[in-house]
């Protein structure tokens, strides 16, 4: 009798499992009207696309990032960080281009990016994971955009062609009395760099004239930036000025300054700005 009851109970549980099944009907996918994106808070999100020229799936990820950036109309800034195994330059052959940077390498190591393509969205965990795959970039970005802006970042650049001197001024204003210390990190990115890139396309395994966009060239004020304040005062505007000489190898008109404010302890980014080195 006892065994029969156990068997019956087990059977009921088995039936319960049978109901755990969401069989879907077409259409599975509907085009998203990106104009619907609610623009209530002017928060701008930074997507760091960790990539490499020997990573076959990275061109698709770059398209994903670019499409998102385009559709979100200035509310998403993409920075391509070439770091790790797939970004390493070869000594000979097709992949000698070196887009790696000390800053990118340190971030790659700190955030334990073990495979490409992968990304960080405002350096904030999405669904419990800090490192976000391209499939989840749209959702992770949307999750960040849904939050209110906590600071504003205004960048103004003065570039002198003759000396290649670039004076960057970043004004940061906090919109709330946030707790904790905050840092400002100022980077240079460059567009339109052309060199070979591996792809996952069997007919074109290598694109020899691949155009790399948003490539991180380095940080102006260190890997983790500079502390803005240890105690946030919303009534203040925090002004920082940096003067750098642009590397001879970089094309000034293709370069941008990307500045972001982050929590010094958690590294979470709360606001980002981007301005071209030479005003468009």
């Amino acid at each position: 009798m006892k065994r029969s009851i156990i068997a019956l109970a087990t059977g009921v549980i088995l039936l319960g499992w049978l109901t755990s099944c969401d069989k879907l009907d077409e259409p599975y996918a509907v085009i998203k009207n990106t104009n619907d994106t609610t623009v209530t808070a002017q928060k701008t999100v930074l997507l760091e696309d960790y990539t490499g020229h020997k990573c076959v799936n990275c061109p698709d990820a770059a398209i994903t990032a670019h499409t998102l950036e385009k559709s979100l109309k200035g509310r998403l800034i993409v920075m391509a960080v070439h770091a790790g195994f797939f970004a390493e330059p070869a000594s000979t052959g097709d992949f000698t281009a070196d887009y790696t940077t000390g800053t990118g390498d340190e971030w790659n190591s700190y955030f334990t990016i073990t495979a490409n393509p992968n990304g960080l969205v405002n350096r904030t965990a999405y669904n419990g994971a800090l490192v976000v795959g391209p499939d989840n970039w749209a959702n992770a970005v949307n999750a960040q955009l849904a939050l209110d802006a906590e600071a504003t970042v205004d960048i103004s650049n003065e570039y002198t062609e003759a000396t290649r001197n670039l004076e960057i001024t970043v004004d940061t204003k906090f919109l709330e009395a946030l707790s904790g210390a905050y840092t400002l990190t100022v980077c240079i990115t460059e567009d339109s760099l052309i060199s070979p890139q591996k792809t996952n396309n069997s007919t074109t395994p290598i694109i020899y004239d691949y155009v790399f966009m948003d490539v991180l060239r380095g940080s102006v004020n260190g890997t983790w930036g500079e502390e803005l304040t240890a105690t946030v005062d919303p009534s203040q505007t925090y002004k920082k000025t940096y003067t750098v000489t642009l590397n001879q190898a970089w094309t000034a008109k293709n370069c941008h300054v990307v500045a972001f404010v982050s929590n010094a302890e958690t590294k979470e980014i709360i606001q980002t700005g981007k301005e071209p080195v030479i005003a468009e």
Partner: protein, 575 residues
């Protein structure tokens, strides 16, 4: 004073009583366990391209675990402490840390077996569910939750599991991965029905259903140049049935599994149901064995997080039918199961030629002949306007026997074992392999198929009861890469000499030489010196040398191993 004496008497009585209870508990207890420590000191090696910057200051690395199980009457409790400080090269950096990822409490009697905490489990051959650990791969998908096994009648076993999978050290929170539920029933008819008790035909039947729940009804996903919102199934079921039939020397095992729509990063978010089919027919008698296997896998990746593509969080296991090798060069190009689709067949003949015959000589001769081949599936478009595999659609159509011409892996091997005398024994192996490096390693038309011939001679000389000397000579000759493909590593030679001093010591020296590499700078020697000491169930081994880059596979699940040079220490023990 009286009160003090009374109190003291009670205290002594209680102490005595508790001591007796503890003694009784100890009388019925057992403690068992095991440990392993793999440590490495990595060195720079200019020829292999390993520099200070590659090592990143982490020259000393260690993977280790200790597992302890405590048993008292019907109860067992256990735990495993793991440490990766930092993990050895080739292991996922996300493992870095130390903690207790595995603990359980179990109660078991004749009818019921209940486990709370972490557990490993397998339904059938694993196509619906397999939670297991493979230390050499850095693979652990244990479930944490509850498992109940019930044996209501003789010959009937029912199992139910409910839990979340291990994901490195990450706690389950905020729906960061799915919840796995599963049930399995196993019926051994010969025990269930008295009429079949003594039958020569042995019949086992089984069935299982597994469901995963992962929160998230929609996903914004870029398809082409547009953003789409995909509707997602939060509950995805995977169910199957199996049969095991024994008649005399014959055995037939068949299993089929079906998975409903499961769009994920692994299948590029297509909605086609998945299928897995595995058949094994074997016959054996003394000195002779014959087996044939067939496997078809179609869109059967089943993970508890739809957005990850690495080896973690697999709920199911797709069985491998290709032969696993231990020799250096035979294992250079191992096959990894392709969960998105493959069709494979395999066969093996084992034959012993008797002693005192013309072919067998005085001591006899044993042969193993093995053949396996795996091809891709021939996928067809679902209609004229939808590209094959397009995300957000059913992906493709594919009949059961629609096999593509794309060869993923093929191997023919013949192994002969001959005892020349009481003290001399030899194993001679020839293998012919075709390995689709692009498919197996995830490249995109870069390397093509590596065709190779491999010859191995393995001779053991038992000098006396205490000393044995074993030598291996191996060669791998591979065809040059096709035009438009990057060069493969070319031809290799390998040799090994191993001295065993019973019962405690072993020493070996080996070298793998890539003499046929088209890049002369890479014609390297991968030398290795190894020694070890064994005492009861404890084994200590120290090795110095080079590790070549490659992949290692266990049961079709693989891990990339980067090139390295250094000193390693391995300690294993059971108690």
């Amino acid at each position: 004073m009286k009160r003090f004496i009374r109190t003291a008497a009670v205290a002594v009585t209680l102490l005595w009583a508790s001591g007796a209870t503890a003694q009784n508990i100890l009388d019925n207890t057992g403690i068992s366990g095991s440990m392993q420590m793999d440590g490495a000191y990595y060195l720079t090696d200019k020829k292999m391209g390993i520099t200070d910057s590659t090592l990143d200051g982490k020259t000393l690395r260690m993977n280790g675990f200790t597992e302890i199980n405590y048993n008292w009457k019907n109860f067992t409790a256990g735990m495993r402490v793991e440490a990766y400080l930092p993990p050895l090269l080739g292991y996922d950096a996300d493992y870095q840390g130390v903690g207790v990822p595995y603990w359980f409490v179990n109660y078991k009697n004749d009818i019921i077996d209940v486990t709370a905490g972490n557990f490993y489990e397998q339904f059938g051959n694993g196509m619906t569910l397999r939670a297991y650990q493979e230390w050499t791969l850095g693979y652990d998908n244990s479930l944490k939750g509850l498992r109940v096994k019930v044996t209501p009648f003789k010959g009937v076993t029912l199992k139910g599991v409910w839990g979340v999978q291990r994901y490195y050290w990450n706690a389950f929170e905020n729906n960061n991965r799915g919840i796995v539920k599963g049930a399995d029933a196993d019926f051994y008819l010969n025990d269930m029905f008295t009429a079949l008790n003594d039958s020569k035909v042995k019949i086992g039947l089984g069935g299982s259903i597994v469901s995963k729940y992962q929160a998230g009804k929609t996903l914004d996903y870029v398809i082409g140049e547009d953003i789409y919102t995909l509707t997602l199934p939060e509950n995805v079921a995977n169910y199957g049935g199996r049969i095991n039939l024994n008649i005399g020397g014959f055995n037939l095992y068949g299993e089929y599994a079906h998975k409903i729509n499961d769009p994920s990063a692994m299948n590029d978010y297509i909605y086609k149901p998945g299928e897995g089919c595995y058949l094994n027919l074997a016959y054996s008698k003394k000195g002779f064995g014959l087996s044939a296997q067939m496997k078809r896998i179609d869109n059967m990746s089943y993970k508890s997080n739809r957005s990850i593509t690495n080896n973690m969080l697999n709920i199911n296991y797709l069985p491998s039918i290709t032969k696993e090798h231990t020799y250096y060069l035979a294992s250079m190009y191992p096959y990894a199961t392709q969960p998105n689709g493959e069709f494979g067949v395999a066969g093996q003949l084992t034959y012993s030629i008797k002693k005192n015959t013309a072919l067998g000589g005085k001591t006899g001769l044993n042969f193993i002949v093995n053949y396996s081949q795996v091809n891709g599936l021939d996928r067809k478009a679902i209609n004229d306007t939808t590209a094959i595999g397009l995300s957000g659609t059913d992906g493709y159509k594919c009949g059961f026997f629609d096999i593509s011409k794309d060869l993923y892996y093929r191997e023919f091997s013949i192994e002969a074992t001959k005892k020349f005398s009481k003290n001399w024994k030899g194993i001679f192996t020839y293998l012919n392999q075709a390995y689709n490096r692009d498919v197996v390693e995830g490249h995109s038309n870069e390397y093509g198929i590596v065709y190779s011939n491999i010859g191995i001679a393995d001779i053991t000389w038992r000098i006396n009861n205490n000393y044995a000397l074993r030598g291996e000579l191996q060669g791998l000759w591979s065809l040059k890469a096709h035009e438009n493909h990057e060069a493969n590593t070319g031809d290799w030679a390998a040799a090994l000499v191993e001295l065993t001093v019973n019962p405690h010591w072993f020493f070996s020296v080996s070298d793998q030489w890539n003499y046929g590499n088209e890049d002369e700078d890479m014609q390297l020697h991968y030398y290795n010196v190894n020694m070890g000491y064994v005492y009861n169930s404890t084994r200590i081994a120290v090795a110095y040398g080079r590790q070549r880059e490659g992949i290692i596979c266990v049961g079709g699940v693989c891990r990339y191993v980067p090139a390295s040079t250094g000193l390693t220490l391995t300690v294993t023990s059971t108690f």
